[in-house]
């Protein structure tokens, strides 16, 4: 009995000292090796009387566990120490720059188109497209702008042939014609896209973007037109209140026609939409002219509705404080980076249009 206790006390004492891994392994062999002190005690069990056996065995097991635990924790301790030493050596200057990455950006016009689509999507418009090269008929004649109409002078048109039959569309309105020829009413579409006029200065660019809107159904009135645009402008500028003015105007393809101004003021050099007493023209609209509907074989006794055309670049300039239209298409890296949007920043109605 005293043998066991002695082994235990001796070795626990030994294990208290600071030991190297090899010293511990030596102790391990001394105890649990083939002829180790504990191993040889186990061999004794057979020769012990039945009455003593049970007690001896249980005592021996306790001692064995205790020593083993002590050894294991000692090994852990040393290994930890070694890892810590190694980690200490691996230390880096964490303030050094990260690996380089390049951030791409979405052009403000594309972002604005997505914002516009998202807003009109909410009230049931779908997106249509048309070609950039149009024939004279779709761009003018079908839109109630016959050949000798002075309104054609307002569109400085790029032509592709001497007969002036093929041209770069001067507005997105020919998409109205294409859509109505292709399908049957009702129509509720927007058509964003590139448009072209041979005009270039601070506020005009030979290429720009428009979004066309068309809503034809039974009993669509100017009230619906006003409601739709009022909703759109509020949503687009993300303001609760908007000052909007409908002003009579003239477009050959709508009758009655209107231009829409929004109220604004300049505060601290920045434009604030929806307040103030200055007016800014942002779009043209009206009730689709019966001649246009007749040209595309829509029954004017049953169907009527409105159309509008909005300058996308202009909207982007207003919303995002961009001064020069020409910079949109100048492709300056610094400009694109400054005014561009993160590609993950997809305008949606549940997350809000902009951050």
């Amino acid at each position: 009995m005293s043998d066991l206790k002695k082994i235990k006390d001796d070795f626990l004492l030994k294990l208290e000292r600071k030991l190297s891994l090899s010293e511990i392994n030596e102790i391990k062999t001394n105890l649990f090796g083939k002829n180790g002190l504990i191993s040889s005690q186990f061999k004794k069990i057979g020769s012990i009387s039945e009455s003593e056996k049970k007690k001896f065995a249980s005592e021996l097991n306790l001692i064995k566990n205790e020593l083993q635990n002590q050894i294991n924790s000692k090994i852990n301790e040393i290994q930890n120490e070694e890892i810590n030493k190694k980690l200490e050596k691996e230390k880096v200057d964490i303030t050094l720059p990260e690996r380089s990455f390049v951030q791409g950006k979405i052009h403000p016009v594309s972002q604005t188109i997505d914002e516009i689509s998202s807003i009109f999507s909410e009230i049931g418009f779908s997106v249509e497209e048309g070609p950039d090269v149009e024939n004279e008929y779709n761009n003018f004649t079908a839109l109630n702008t016959p050949d000798n109409h002075p309104a054609r002078d307002l569109h400085d048109t790029f032509y592709l042939d001497e007969k002036k039959e093929k041209l770069l569309r001067t507005h997105t309105s020919p998409v109205q014609i294409r859509t109505m020829l292709k399908d049957k009413p009702p129509f509720k579409i927007i058509a964003p896209g590139r448009t072209y006029r041979s005009d270039s200065d601070q506020t005009h660019s030979p290429m720009f973007h428009q979004v066309e809107g068309l809503h034809i159904d039974k009993d669509i009135t100017m009230g619906h037109l006003k409601g739709c645009l009022n909703y759109f402008i509020k949503e687009f500028f993300e303001v609760k209140k908007i000052k909007m003015r409908f002003r009579p105007s003239h477009f050959p393809f709508t009758e009655p026609s209107a231009e829409v101004d929004i109220g604004y003021e300049i505060k601290d050099g920045k434009i604030v939409i929806g307040e103030g007493d200055k007016w800014l023209e942002i779009l043209g609209c009206g009730m689709v002219h019966p001649n246009v509907l007749k040209n595309v074989k829509v029954d004017t006794s049953k169907y009527q509705g409105y159309a509008f055309g909005i300058g996308i670049d202009r909207l982007a300039m207003l919303k995002y404080g961009i001064n020069d239209l020409r910079a949109f298409f100048d492709c300056d890296y610094r400009w694109l980076n400054h005014f561009g949007f993160d590609p993950l920043d997809v305008p949606t109605n549940y997350r809000g249009l902009s951050r």
């Binding site: 052009h107 950039d132 790029f158 100017m222 009230g223 619906h224 890296y333």
Partner: protein, 802 residues
């Protein structure tokens, strides 16, 4: 169209303010563009006295004058006028003043080395008269005590510039504007009791309108006024013209202009003595020539409407008169023309000859055909009043008569279109004030359209008049319903948005460039396409539609590199054009990447951007867009603007139907030609229209979720193959061996050189083998290994490297 409130008040009885007027004009569709005070800056012109003159040291004809400008101030002014002399009282304009005639702003100027502070003005420069010989001479007795005072009295008159839409020619005269205002309840239209010419004098000049096809003139009214004394216009008339930005010329010309501006009736005055044997209005013959009042000579085409006499063309009807029969200050006898020309004829002629005049602007929009006599009466009376003379009877030649326009209008249409109501009484009130004659016939209004409204053709135009005059603010907002019956975007539109954002997420900045391009750039990228020329380009650098986005993108890439940026990726998604007809266009995503990866990095090795960088961007984008990379097939047939050895063409599968993308290094020759300097330039084009779209959603295209939990094992192989063997072919051979067992193949090394025979290379491949049914034992693995080696060796001529 410029008006003033004062002028308007000659037609409108009103006691409201100008501020209200401006608002109301815009409200009824006559948009106020600008309001400018006539006298702004005019206070700068001062009464001054020349104290001393001496000869300019460096110029014989110039004098240097000391000028007393009052309050003890003296200025040195260089002056070329012969009448500049000591003691002369005249008008001085300081630096900063704008000379009314030339609209130039004075600055302190060095004239032949002598500094001149301002200018002494002539009457002509101040638009006071045509006198331009010397500077203004003011009477000493009257002005001696006013030196230093302003010369011009302050004018309270504002010039109001209206933007008149092309459908409203009637508002190109002050009376038309007044009529619209009155209809909207803004004042009352004053009835003008015009004097009619009562004359017994015979109209002695023969006028004839030739009856020909496409005759552009339908009515020609005229009267002769004999023994006039053409003179300067009286001040009231000059002021009136100046107030709307017109320059006074002579009484006769000013009067015709005045009548045009007042009632929108263009007139023309001929020197009757210069007309040879009467007027003939006819179609021109090809090649006929005449010199117009703008001092330009015009060569006419066939069938233009000309006013002519026995000696040839005198003028283009309704567009411009000619020098030969023009009135001058010594003109004694005049013929006054008031005619009607057809809009189409005016437009065609003016367009062909590129002439724009006030008369043309009005005639092409449509002039009231019933205003011919009114115009003659008004102008002839004024001429008689100012220039004296005797007026003849009016002569009117006609080939067509005016036909009254009638519209039957259903008043219910108003509410149907506008969504609000106004009473029938209110409607009739508005229409009558606008000049319509209204009669109620049961449920309809029978309307006679006023002759000055060519724009009103049908019922909807009546609605427009009514809602415009009642006010658009009365239209009630109907809030939109938030309901969607059709999906917002089509599949291909969704793909467009996806590709756009996918490429941007890989570090590319999105650019939007013109759809047209410089043919010099486009030539490099047009391939087999013919130039699609714009016949009227805005500049010679934008003369063709682009056949490739590269044409523009590479130019802007160069500009950005020139700005000093070195590592740069830009892209554009948009149309390229394959032909000149509508629809001959494709949507392409095109990107360019220049420079190095990891430039100046403390951690990563620096290297040039290369074809495998751009290949990754293309492949990853397509995978993200939902296309399966397993089937992608690549070959080397790329257009000639790519590096022939470092570019590829990508197909969705092996049948090589239509290429989905090109990618690679841009051909070094092109960089040289356009002088683009960078370490490396790689690019890609993805052809969106070639990407197949299925009706299935991405979710429905996915295979059943099925993974194997049995142990997988990886084996490495190195094959020695011919140098020309493509990795893609090797991978295809291996993946076809046993698609159930071989789950992944990776090329991890390509080696050429020492220990490898010439014209051969070593490709090392890692292959993952895994079964769906069991854990493979050594035997199974050995079997598949041997099969791989044997198949590769047989099919590609490769040798396993031992």
């Amino acid at each position: 169209m410029k008006i003033t409130f004062e002028w308007l008040k000659e037609h409108l009885k009103i006691n409201l303010k100008e501020k209200d007027l401006l608002k109301q004009l815009t409200n009824i569709g006559l948009e106020v563009e600008t309001v400018e005070n006539l006298s702004s800056g005019i206070e700068l012109f001062k009464i001054a006295k020349v104290i001393r003159t001496e000869k300019h040291p460096n110029a014989d004809r110039l004098k240097v004058c000391d000028v007393d400008i009052g309050k003890g101030e003296f200025k040195k002014v260089v002056c070329g006028a012969p009448n500049a002399r000591e003691g002369l009282i005249t008008i001085y304009a300081p630096p900063g003043a704008v000379i009314p005639k030339t609209q130039t702003k004075l600055v302190i100027a060095k004239i032949r080395n002598v500094i001149s502070y301002g200018m002494l003005c002539s009457e002509s420069e101040l638009n006071l008269s045509d006198e331009s010989e010397g500077i203004v001479e003011l009477s000493t007795s009257k002005y001696e005590k006013k030196i230093g005072h302003r010369y011009f009295l302050e004018s309270k008159t504002n010039t109001i510039d209206l933007s008149i839409t092309p459908n409203r020619p009637d508002c190109l005269g002050v009376r038309g504007v007044a009529r619209d205002l009155a209809a909207s309840g803004f004042g009352k239209l004053i009835n003008l009791n015009e004097k009619k010419i009562k004359s017994n004098i015979k109209h002695s000049l023969k006028v004839k309108i030739n009856k020909e096809k496409n005759q552009g003139c339908s009515v020609f009214g005229s009267c002769l006024i004999k023994n006039v004394k053409n003179t300067e216009s009286p001040q009231w008339l000059k002021n009136k013209l100046i107030s709307v930005g017109q320059k006074p010329i002579s009484a006769i010309v000013d009067i015709t202009n005045y009548v045009m501006l007042d009632i929108n009736r263009p007139l023309h005055a001929y020197d009757a003595d210069k007309i040879e044997k009467g007027l003939i209005i006819r179609n021109s013959k090809s090649g006929e020539e005449f010199t117009a009042l703008d001092n330009k000579s015009y060569k006419l085409e066939k069938d233009m409407c000309v006013i002519s006499d026995a000696n040839g063309v005198l003028g283009l009807g309704g567009i411009i008169g000619g020098i030969r029969s023009g009135t001058e200050l010594d003109t004694k006898n005049i013929l006054l023309e008031s005619a009607h020309f057809k809009t189409r004829s005016i437009r065609n002629t003016a367009k062909k000859l590129n002439i724009d005049t006030d008369a043309k602007y009005r005639f092409e929009r449509g002039i009231d055909p019933l205003s011919i006599e009114e115009g003659l009466n008004k102008a002839a009376s004024l001429i008689k009043e100012i220039c004296g003379g005797e007026i003849s009877k009016i002569d009117i030649q006609k080939t067509e008569s005016y036909r009254i326009k009638k519209i039957s209008f259903n008043p219910n249409l108003f509410e149907k279109i506008t969504g609000f109501k106004i009473s029938n009484k209110e409607m009739i009130n508005i229409l009558e004030k606008l000049g319509f004659k209204c009669k109620k016939e049961r449920k309809y209004f029978s309307l006679i359209v006023p002759s000055w409204r060519p724009d009103i053709m049908q019922e909807i135009d009546i609605v427009e008049e009514l809602v415009r005059i009642s006010g658009y603010e009365k239209i009630k907002i109907v809030d939109p319903i938030k309901e969607r019956t059709k999906s917002t975007l089509t599949k291909s539109q969704k793909l467009f948005h996806f590709l756009q954002r996918s490429i941007a997420s890989k570090g590319y900045l999105e650019a939007i460039t013109w759809s047209f391009s410089d043919s010099n750039y486009n030539d490099h990228f047009k391939g087999k396409c013919e130039d699609i020329r714009i016949i009227n380009p805005i500049s010679s650098e934008l003369d063709v539609l682009r056949n490739s986005i590269y044409s523009n993108l590479i130019m802007y890439m160069r500009k950005n590199l020139d700005r000093g940026f070195k590592d740069l990726s830009i892209f554009e998604i948009g149309p390229i054009f394959t032909g000149p007809n509508p629809g001959e266009q494709n949507t392409v995503v095109c990107g360019l990447s220049a420079g190095k990866k990891s430039r100046l990095s403390w951690i990563d090795e620096e290297r040039d951007i290369d074809v495998f960088d751009i290949k990754r961007d293309v492949i990853q984008t397509l995978i993200e867009a939902g296309y399966s990379s397993d089937k992608f097939f690549i070959d080397e047939n790329t257009p000639n603007y790519y590096h022939p050895g470092k570019s590829g063409r990508l197909f969705l599968n092996q049948d090589k139907h239509q290429p989905i993308a090109y990618f690679g290094e841009i051909h070094p020759n092109i960089l040289k030609k356009i002088d683009l300097k960078t370490e490396s330039l790689v690019g890609f084009e993805i052809f969106m229209d070639n990407l197949k779209l299925t009706d299935k959603t991405l979710n429905n295209q996915k295979r059943k979720f099925d993974v194997s939990d049995f142990q997988k094992s990886e084996r490495d192989f190195a094959f020695i193959v011919s140098k020309d063997l493509k990795a893609q072919d090797l991978i295809n051979v291996i993946s076809n061996i046993d698609q159930k067992l071989i789950s992944n193949i990776r090329v991890f090394d390509v080696y050429q050189g020492e220990n490898i025979p010439e014209n051969q290379k070593s490709i090392a491949i890692n292959i993952t083998i895994q079964s769906n049914e069991k854990t493979l034992n050594d035997n199974d693995l050995e079997k598949i290994n041997n099969l791989i080696i044997k198949t590769v060796e047989n099919k590609t001529g490769a040798k396993i490297r031992s």
